[in-house]
Subunit: 207 residues, 2 copies
């Protein structure tokens, strides 16, 4: 048994409920699923733990990682570096653990280029009216601010067909069960099974 | 909502438990799943019903269907014709019903050529020893007969990697739940969702 985890890219516009779905999925800390943890050079905030919220590294370490081509993608924001480590993800996948990458369509395109076997899941809200309701928040924002959020959401959603699967988050339990079915089924693809069941298949096909 | 069903090709060597898995799946006659029913020119046997076990047609009707290119595949066996109707399957899929096609790897290759979006599932027994046990039956067959069955099974299994998914039928309940996860997930692919959620997606992306 040489199981290999799958890499899931999960994208969604604000208001689709992506974070809640991923949190619910990992709530009981399943041994075979993890969300990807980014590297950063910024200081930990109170309560943040190394390896759980971020991999905290210094600038020299981060630059070495860039030089080693260790990142799928990285960016400098206000003097701090942030990056998604391909190498860390590869190590986790090699242990048979599925990894979830919570990124936007631009990040998704970069990851797909490097790992075409990654599985893209796009989460949609159930209707425009419901999306507007979710983005309106508690009525404290101006019409302009809300219109800006809607435009941003529509722009993100226009990339839905670059993903392998689409979840509609209308009923939360249904969306959760849809997500689990995708994860379950992806362990049964021929590519996954050839890893997991390699010895058994050899035994079955021996002359 | 313009749902479209998926076409599943299910293949396996004798002894993998394919028929039991498909029977269990359709036991409660779900509204959204059907096994494909072949056409034949042979006479119905006692208990066989038109439209359930076969579509019983006469030779002229069958030959018209061949001329109309209605079959994925057809064959003449001992003077009787048998065929899998692409047109019948298309009608069922158009109603949003998933169709299961219980065929061997040769049939699977033909169907994949005509409908590349069909989803191939190959069912494997859990080990060579267990396969031998299942093919030995009640101990009434000679070593040659059993060896012949094993050779036939190994030959069928050598095509496992032409399929999209692999199920290992070790524990029946687990295999059943695996099969359901595949069916569930395939309704969530972008291609399926673009059919099912077409109006909703248009509404979400409107300017």
């Amino acid at each position: 048994m040489t199981a290999r985890g799958n890499l899931f890219i999960v994208s969604a516009p604000s208001g689709a409920g992506k974070s809640s779905l991923i949190s619910a999925l990992l709530k009981d800390q399943p041994a075979d699923m993890q969300v990807s943890v980014s590297h950063t050079t910024r200081q930990p905030r109170p309560g943040e733990e190394h390896g759980q919220h971020y991999h905290f590294v210094n600038q020299d370490e981060f630059k070495s990682l860039i030089a080693e081509n260790a990142f799928f993608e990285w960016a400098e924001v206000f003097g701090n570096y942030y990056g998604t480590s391909r190498v860390t993800i590869e190590h986790t996948l090699a242990k048979g653990i599925d990894v979830f990458l919570d990124i936007d369509w631009q990040g998704a395109q970069q990851v797909k280029k490097v790992m075409p076997e990654s599985i893209g899941i796009f989460i949609l809200p159930p209707s425009r009216a419901e999306l507007e309701r979710r983005l309106t928040g508690r009525g404290q924002d101006s019409q302009e601010v809300i219109a800006g959020r809607m435009a941003q959401a529509v722009s993100e959603m226009s990339h839905y067909n670059e993903y392998d699967f689409i979840l509609v988050n209308d009923d939360f339990d249904k969306a959760q069960s849809d997500l689990l079915a995708i994860i379950h089924s992806q362990r049964l693809t021929t590519a996954s099974q050839i890893h997991t069941q390699n010895d058994m298949i050899k035994d079955l096909l021996a002359d």
